[in-house]
């Protein structure tokens, strides 16, 4: 590639990088520094080097007998968040793909309207939206009353505070993050290619799998990233719909910055999460790009 092109690319990215360095990545350096200091008496840090924050990410010094063991509480919480995010990504894709496909196959002048219809519910506040979901699924709520009125069940089913209700809530909240990038990619799908495949007697499934999905892969990648990573940090929905007995990774980090008043541990936990996600992301993007080139 020519030098001029590289320079042009960097120039185009520079304004975004400046903003991010000033208001996102730059301040993050503070977190890196804090992670190797000692917690202050009431909040913040004192300027004394300490590896305790990092040590406590992975190891737990028993508060009663001082024995050191693997911090299974942290690992359990981390795993809970990761698996919930994976499931959320899967189900948003399952619902979001047909929805985006539907929008992309509307007549040109209708598409914008359908897109707005996807986002308008999200112009209302997340909390009251979550409360509204709760109102549907509580014991005396609309779902149970309807089922009972239809005679399908005799007693209310416990839906609130179950894993299924958390998952449903998460899928609801993160759906537009999947639909919009998918739409952006499906919208330019060249149906002549699809037609050619049908002419060659491909089945619908085969067309979907072999033609459409490979063509919209960038959209699937973008949507999955936009759902998976933010849902790792979700806590309002799991707490309200799941009852909050079990923490998510962001609750744990917030506890350290809040009532726990252990900023170094909170910072170290966050950087661990960042490193994990960064590696997974780069691996995922490279993998997808590689497949695209070979396939």
């Amino acid at each position: 590639m020519r030098r001029a092109e590289i320079r042009r690319n960097w120039l185009l990215a520079t304004p975004a990088l400046i903003l991010l360095l000033a208001a996102a990545s730059g301040p993050l350096l503070i977190a890196v520094v804090y992670s190797v200091l000692e917690p202050g008496d009431y909040s913040g840090v004192v300027w004394k080097l300490s590896g305790e924050g990092w040590f406590r990410v992975l190891f737990n010094r028993d508060i009663f007998d001082d024995t050191v063991s693997l911090a299974d509480a942290h690992l359990t919480i981390f795993w809970r968040s990761a698996s919930l995010s994976l499931m959320t990504t899967f189900f948003t894709l399952l619902l979001g793909f047909p929805t985006a496909y539907f929008i992309a196959t509307r007549p040109l002048r209708q598409r914008m309207l359908w897109l707005f219809l996807v986002t308008i519910p999200f112009w209302t506040n997340l909390l009251i939206r979550t409360f509204a979901i709760m109102e549907v699924i509580r014991n005396e709520g609309i779902a149970n009353s309807t089922l009972m009125a239809l005679g399908l069940i005799d007693a209310p089913i416990q839906m609130l505070y179950t894993d299924a209700s958390v998952l449903a809530g998460m899928v609801y909240v993160y759906l537009p993050l999947m639909v919009l990038p998918l739409y952006a990619s499906l919208d330019r799908l060249d149906f002549r290619l699809v037609e050619a495949a049908y002419d060659l007697y491909a089945s619908r499934i085969a067309v979907l799998r072999r033609v459409i999905i490979p063509l919209v892969k960038p959209g699937i990648v973008a949507g999955s990233i936009l759902v998976f990573i933010p849902s790792l940090g979700a806590y309002v929905t799991p707490r309200v719909l799941g009852g909050g007995k079990n923490m998510m990774i962001s609750n744990l980090i917030e506890l350290q910055f809040g009532e726990g008043r252990n900023w170094p541990l909170g910072a170290a936990l966050s950087i661990t999460l960042l490193a994990f996600v960064m590696v997974a992301l780069i691996f995922y993007v490279r993998n997808m790009a590689g497949e695209q080139r070979n396939g």
Binding site: L12, L115, L127
Partner: protein, 270 residues
């Protein structure tokens, strides 16, 4: 497009997709209907129906704090999503449709970085940096909030635009350039319209993400800079009243009217 619709066999149709899409839309609007219903609750709760009343609309109408918070949310979300979309579009142009170049992975990682750090960490870090600037300059306007929001909105705008650009056909641009169109003209008349759906999708996402942000706003805001979500968060521990339902319902109403007007006007012009 036309040949597909004439035949009985449509190449665009995927069996079941329309039903799933309709189900999705029903799912999206179910809770919204309930939210709107509770805006008319006579009782004090968002979950206990006590009869019809307009009292929360009156309360919200009288409460300047909540009104200002609503306007502030819209201003911040508008300004932040606009900034983020412009910057993300440029960055996407600089990072797609090109082979990897020195630093391209770094740019990609930096742009997506705000996604990967729990909000509370960014919030505390921003609080400390911005507080120093606020003390030094004595200025504490909304710009700080907008900058913070714009920064975390960048990846949400960037990814859909990038997805659109990736593998976008270069033929038209090459053709335009071959016809001696200046680069700016090529960009304005060819590239930009082709990118438009991605840009619109990205801008919508950025807007919605900014509108819902709580944690970063809570830490960055100065005196008198509550947004609707931070106003709600403050209520959470005591009691959430249908006041915000009323505000949201009014907002939804305005949105629907504006959108309808927009589409009707647009249709007449054609």
């Amino acid at each position: 497009m036309a040949e597909g619709t004439h035949r009985r066999f449509s190449v665009r149709r995927m069996p079941g997709f329309t039903s799933i899409a309709m189900l999705t839309f029903a799912m999206l609007y179910g809770p919204i209907v309930i939210l709107v219903i509770y805006a008319f609750n006579a009782g004090e709760s968002v979950a206990l129906w006590e009869g019809f009343s307009l009292r929360w609309f009156v309360t919200a109408w009288d409460n300047t704090q909540v009104q200002e918070a609503t306007f502030r949310s819209l201003i911040v979300a508008g300004a932040a999503s606009l900034t983020a979309t412009v910057l993300a579009t440029m960055a996407a142009l600089g990072t797609t449709r090109t082979r990897p170049y020195p630093g391209s992975l770094v740019i990609y990682a930096l742009i997506n970085q705000p996604l990967m750090v729990p909000e509370i960490v960014t919030a505390v870090a921003l609080l400390i940096v911005f507080a120093m600037i606020k003390i030094a300059t004595g200025y504490s306007g909304l710009i700080f909030l907008i900058a913070a929001h714009a920064a975390f909105c960048v990846p949400f705008a960037y990814l859909p635009i990038r997805a659109r650009l990736e593998g976008m056909n270069l033929d038209y641009e090459t053709a335009a350039a071959d016809l001696y169109a200046p680069p700016w003209q090529v960009f304005r008349r060819v590239t930009l319209p082709l990118m438009a759906p991605g840009i619109v999708a990205g801008a919508m996402l950025a807007f919605v993400i900014s509108l819902d942000d709580v944690v970063i706003t809570e830490f960055v805001k100065s005196a008198g800079q509550d947004t609707l979500p931070t106003y709600m968060l403050g209520q959470l521990r005591r009691m959430v009243t249908p006041e915000v339902n009323a505000i949201s319902t009014a907002l939804l109403g305005v949105t629907v009217v504006l959108l309808t007007a927009f589409f009707v006007l647009n249709r007449q012009r054609r």
